[in-house]
């Protein structure tokens, strides 16, 4: 019997995928959002975490930048 799970399909490059997996693993069990890791560039996650992933990536990116004061 075919089962369908609703969620969000994420397509990105390998470093980003690894970062999202790392973010997922650092959360407690109840808050984990990855449903399946499809391959090393695609993930299937819960639908509601889109905004959270985007802002987390943005903070990560800003940590790596330097602005001349």
């Amino acid at each position: 019997m075919v089962s369908a799970i609703k969620g969000m399909y994420i397509s990105c490059d390998i470093p980003m995928a690894q970062y999202i997996i790392h973010m997922n693993n650092s959360l407690p069990q109840s808050q984990r959002f990855i449903i399946h890791v499809l391959d090393n560039t695609h993930l299937f996650v819960r639908s509601d975490v889109g905004g959270m992933i985007k802002s987390a990536i943005q903070t990560f990116r800003e940590q790596n930048t330097y602005e001349k004061p």
Binding site: V2, S3, A4, G7, C12, L38, I57
Partner: protein, 453 residues
């Protein structure tokens, strides 16, 4: 010989979308007929001229005989266009074949125009009244200055330093697409489209505003056909010659005042009479959008160390540069800026795309570098694009994952079904898993139910 070359396609689309009654009124003006004639494809022009003196209907077969077999698609496009503009009317009778007959008003007016030549409804005023006419350079400078203050008003609407003497109709054009006001206390903020508007070419900007103005005209109670006919007529006037204001109707006088705010005409008053002088912007109304204005002098030099040197003293230019670069030094005739990641991120957040920034830099390249290929160094353009794509590293699509297929055939069938609808995102034949876009969910469910039976 008027400077009109081709009327912009957009003008024609607007004309074509008018209802039949208004088109009839429009065709009473022989200048509009001429302008429409000039804007058509060569084949359509030929048809119109060939039918100009034929009073009876012409069968469609005759038309087809005038074209070689490989011109069939051009023929169809021309005929469609003429039908759309209601220049040709089709009569389909049951036994006889389709015939075309030309619009009487259009025909009559074009015949008159061909015979008598185009005479404007107003003559330039004699020189003894208009003693000192501004020279063409003065006129261009005036038009540029008005347009700049208009755009500056758009940018600095939050500061509102300049007195808001722009008419309410123009403000409405702004508010519709370019500015947005969250509430009445806060100053209005530029929307995404507003930023993109600032980086466009002057002709494109002019067109956008005029289009918005025409679309708003219905709300204000001004007839669109009258407005369009007056604008087209204006584009046939000679730049730099004065025309008496009392030859205009009341409605046209209101329109002229709005156009003066935009810099399309210059209003002047003598002792008894007052007159208006069309500037280059007005006659440019008829120039096709496809011809880019390479008349403007470029002012930006971009170097490979990501530095920008803008040889301009205009406030508008420095405001535009401030949108996407960090201003380092500002001198009386030079602005030095640097393109850095943070300034670009700010621009991207405001909705400007990398392509717009790059095309702005290329179109406004200083004459010294404009001849080089490429006018903007490739490392700068590549880096701008890379920074833009860095913001979108992750792509998200709402979807469903399907698992537990009973057999490979069902799996393959489901894959093909999803692929046909363009919703297949990912599949794994070994584990028999399928990811399909969320919009296809209901149809997939029905399809799988049907497969089970």
């Amino acid at each position: 010989m008027p400077q009109v070359k081709i009327v912009a396609k957009n003008f024609m689309d607007m004309v074509a979308s008018l209802p039949a009654r208004k088109l009839e009124k429009l065709y009473d003006n022989s200048f509009i007929c001429e302008a429409i004639l000039r804007s058509m494809t060569p084949l359509a022009k030929k048809y119109v001229i060939q039918l100009l003196y034929i009073e009876e209907p012409v069968t469609a077969k005759w038309f087809e005989e005038w074209v070689l077999p490989d011109g069939a698609s051009k023929h169809k496009i021309a005929i469609d266009r003429l039908l759309q503009l209601r220049i040709l009317a089709e009569n389909v009778e049951r036994k006889k074949e389709a015939t075309f007959i030309m619009n009487k008003t259009f025909q009559r007016n074009l015949q008159k125009h061909v015979v008598h030549g185009g005479i404007l409804p107003r003559e330039p005023m004699p020189l003894n009244i208009t003693v000192r006419l501004p020279s063409l350079e003065d006129l261009n400078a005036y038009a540029a200055q008005q347009w700049e203050s208009f755009l500056l008003h758009l940018i600095n609407s939050s500061e509102a330093e300049k007195s808001t003497n722009l008419s309410s109709s123009i403000m409405k054009v702004f508010q519709r697409g370019l500015l947005s006001q969250k509430d009445d206390k806060e100053p209005p903020v530029l929307t995404e489209r507003g930023f993109q508007f600032l980086l466009m070419d002057t002709n494109a900007q002019l067109w956008y505003i005029i289009r918005g103005y025409i679309n708003n005209s219905e709300d204000r109670g001004v007839d669109t056909a009258d407005l369009l006919s007056f604008l087209l007529e204006l584009s046939f006037h000679v730049t730099g010659k004065a025309y008496n204001l009392n030859t205009l109707s009341d409605l046209q006088q209101i329109i002229i005042k709005d156009l003066a705010d935009l810099g399309l005409v210059l209003l002047q008053q003598g002792r008894k009479e007052s007159w208006f002088i069309p500037t280059k912007l007005a006659t440019n109304l008829s120039v096709s959008l496809a011809e880019t204005s390479s008349r403007k002098q470029g002012f930006v030099v971009v170097e490979t160390n990501f530095r920008l040197y803008a040889y301009s003293s205009s406030k508008l230019h420095s405001e535009i540069l401030r949108l996407f670069s960090r201003i380092e030094y500002q001198l009386p005739n030079l602005t030095v800026a640097a393109i850095i990641k943070e300034s670009l991120y700010k621009a991207f957040q405001n909705g400007i795309t990398a392509e717009q920034i790059i095309s702005f830099l290329q179109q406004n390249a200083h004459p010294l570098v404009a001849d080089k290929i490429p006018s903007v160094p490739e490392n700068v353009t590549d880096q701008i694009r890379l920074w833009e794509s860095d913001l979108n590293r992750v792509e998200m699509t709402p979807a469903h994952i399907y698992d537990g297929f009973p057999s490979t055939e069902v799996f393959e069938a489901a894959c093909d079904f999803a692929r046909e609808h363009g919703c297949l995102l990912w599949e794994n034949s070994k584990k028999m898993r399928l990811v399909v876009k969320a919009e296809l969910f209901a149809q997939m469910r029905d399809y799988l139910h049907k497969q089970k039976q």
